[in-house]
């Protein structure tokens, strides 16, 4: 197992190199003047320089490989250019907006994965009964409903009609409190607890409900379907019959014997889902005007803020590759058949 993990960790830089080269190739669709922006982290130093001179200075007409190595060098030194939409260097913009996205993802994981597993196994145990049909309808609606439509509906009902859960990340009255308190993590719920600001904590949680509900509703379909079919298959195995004939209660059979084995494919799917969630927040954050990294990327995309878009792509690639690695390692740990082979 250790050699497997070591091999994966050694391969990580190779994968990242491939990814960065692909992003670099995508950048070649831009003109040299547009690409120039990716090199400038401090726009105040630009005043008075002619673009041609700068293109020459940064060697944007050099050969592809020379340009790539220079660009990569820049990135490794943390220089990703300047995002005009939020008036911050890209690295700083990521540091500012990522905690918000992380907060949303962390709060979504629990209902998505555990809710999905609970409903999926419930449906399998009551195969073809009323609850199974309800769960299946829920899954197929969630699957066919685009995230932005689900989000708009949630907004219309929970904010427009009931006025329970407003959009945004915090209420306006809370902004000065956030500004003054010590921000340890940038994750407002944690910071609010650390600062003893419980009114703020409630406000942040209140703003999280609608986006988390939207993400859960559209993401349940995948986990639900996989858990359900995997459970159905497992429940038909001989060892389950043996367990039942030993006189175990149905509860024990399901919990201790069936579900544990049925969850193996679910782990893979959950990993993929979690990794894609960071990117998937683009839509939810835009709909709810929740200022995370996805919101920033949408703003950047509509305003031709290329350094931001490229920085966002790079950041997502690194995140996804890392999360995939962690999931694969967990997978090996969880399944003895893989561990031993």
């Amino acid at each position: 197992m250790i050699s497997y993990i070591a091999r994966r960790v050694v391969l990580l830089p190779v994968v990242l190199l491939g990814l960065s080269f692909m992003i670099f190739l995508m950048m070649q669709f831009l003109s040299p003047t547009q690409r120039l922006t990716a090199f400038v982290s401090d726009p105040t130093k630009l005043r008075g320089e002619a673009p041609e001179a700068l293109i020459e200075m940064y060697g944007l007409n050099d050969s592809l490989l020379v340009q790539y190595s220079r660009w990569l060098n820049n990135i490794l030194h943390g220089n990703l250019g300047y995002s005009t939409t939020v008036s911050l260097p890209v690295t700083q913009a990521i540091a500012t907006y990522f905690p918000a996205t992380l907060e949303l993802v962390l709060f979504s994981i629990v209902p998505v994965i555990f809710g999905g597993i609970m409903m999926g196994s419930l449906a399998a145990c009551r195969h073809n009964r009323l609850i199974d049909h309800i769960v299946r309808i829920l899954a197929i609606t969630g699957w066919s409903l685009p995230t932005f439509v689900a989000g708009l509906l949630a907004l219309a009902v929970f904010y427009g009609l009931l006025n329970w859960f407003p959009p945004g990340r915090v209420s306006t009255w809370a902004l000065p409190i956030i500004h003054e308190m010590h921000r340890y993590t940038g994750i407002y719920t944690i910071d609010a607890i650390l600062n003893g600001q419980f009114r703020l904590l409630l406000d942040v949680l209140r703003h999280l409900v609608a986006p988390v509900a939207t993400v859960s509703f559209v993401s349940w379909a995948l986990i639900l379907r996989i858990t359900r079919s995997s459970m159905l298959e497992t429940l038909r195995q001989d060892y389950i019959t043996t367990a039942r004939s030993k006189g175990l209660t149905e509860r024990t059979v399901v919990r201790r014997h069936a579900r544990r084995n049925a969850l193996i494919p679910v782990i893979t799917a959950s990993g993929l889902l979690m990794a894609s969630m960071v990117g998937g927040q683009v839509v939810v954050e835009t709909v709810f005007n929740y200022k995370g990294i996805g919101w920033w990327a949408t703003q950047a995309a509509t305003q031709f803020d290329f350094p931001a878009i490229i920085g966002f792509a790079l950041f997502n690639a690194v995140m996804l590759v890392t999360v995939n690695l962690i999931v694969d390692i967990l997978y090996v740990v969880a399944d003895p058949r893989i561990r031993l082979s």
Binding site: F29, S144, G160, T286
Partner: protein, 291 residues
């Protein structure tokens, strides 16, 4: 029993087929159902005036108008064409690229297989929507750019699927028999191997058509897909964002700006998903008997 008969027997897939046929009819009859005022530019939604506030359904505008007085009914009818076009073209080209790459990898084996599959891994290392959004932005936005971006990051699943299936089929006796009588690799692939492993890929493609239309409308909603005023459901839905919450006494005063285009989109995706789901059950030999 033929596939079509089975599709029509299951109530869920029957609903899917009926919906799908209805959408195809609407798309085909678009010039009659909603005659374009400018025949050269049928995808430009006509607008009556430039007032910002949406107008409720009336005789003149059966589904009302959205922000900027774009006619919602017209957008829905011609949007059906846009949706079908996006779904079929994006999925078709992705399928073609995926099957070509996957077959090449599986048939050649060795270092070429290794390289192609690592390229697939790298393309898959992005969340689809992020990759498509970034590429569409870098290409300069617009519906065609969004479609190129979706194809660029949409073919890998097919490549992996067909490669695995070919590797399994390649070892069968009938392939050895074909090799023994001197058939060339290309002929073996096209005449003997592909017909035996293409169905799962087709099922996958059917299910993907709905998803692709969702993603395209999402890109339009995010502002990197169809331009303002283009007959595309996602683009029309993006207008409703500012109007779903009304400050007036009735919170759902502008309901028609969301309900009609979103309803069309959801039904369209649902129909493909229902058909795809049923096709999978029908064509998958493991599910054919038993459950």
């Amino acid at each position: 029993m033929t596939v079509l008969k089975k599709l029509l027997k299951n109530p869920l897939s029957l609903i899917g087929v009926v919906l799908l046929v209805a959408f195809v009819f609407v798309a085909a009859l678009a010039p009659i159902l909603a005659p374009p005022p400018r025949p050269t530019e049928p995808y430009r939604i006509p607008r009556s005036g430039f007032k910002i506030e949406p107008q409720a359904p009336s005789v003149e505008h059966p589904f009302g108008t959205t922000e900027g007085q774009y006619d919602i009914y017209y957008a829905m009818i011609w949007g059906t064409r846009t949706a079908l076009r996006i779904g079929l073209i994006v999925t078709g080209i992705s399928l073609l690229i995926g099957v070509t790459v996957g077959s090449l990898a599986a048939m050649s084996g060795g270092w070429l297989d290794e390289i192609l599959m690592r390229v697939v891994d790298i393309f898959m290392a992005f969340p689809f929507i992020v990759a498509a959004m970034v590429l569409a932005t870098l290409l300069g936005k617009g519906l065609d750019k969004a479609m190129i971006a979706m194809v660029t990051f949409g073919w890998m699943g097919y490549a992996r699927l067909i490669r695995g299936d070919i590797l399994a089929v390649r070892e069968k006796e009938f392939v050895s028999a074909a090799q023994a009588i001197g058939a060339r690799p290309f002929r073996i692939l096209v005449r003997h191997i592909l017909p035996n492993c293409i169905y799962p890929v087709f099922v996958q493609a059917t299910m993907q058509i709905g998803s692709m239309v969702i993603w395209a409308s999402t890109l339009s909603f995010l502002g990197v897909g169809a331009p303002e005023g283009y007959a595309d459901w996602g683009q029309v839905i993006s207008f409703s964002r500012n109007w779903i919450i009304s400050s007036g006494p009735n919170p759902f005063e502008y309901w028609y700006t969301l309900v009609f285009p979103a309803g069309a989109l959801v039904l369209f995706v649902l129909s493909w998903n229902l058909v795809g789901d049923a096709l999978r059950d029908i064509l998958d030999p493991r599910l054919r008997h038993g459950t």
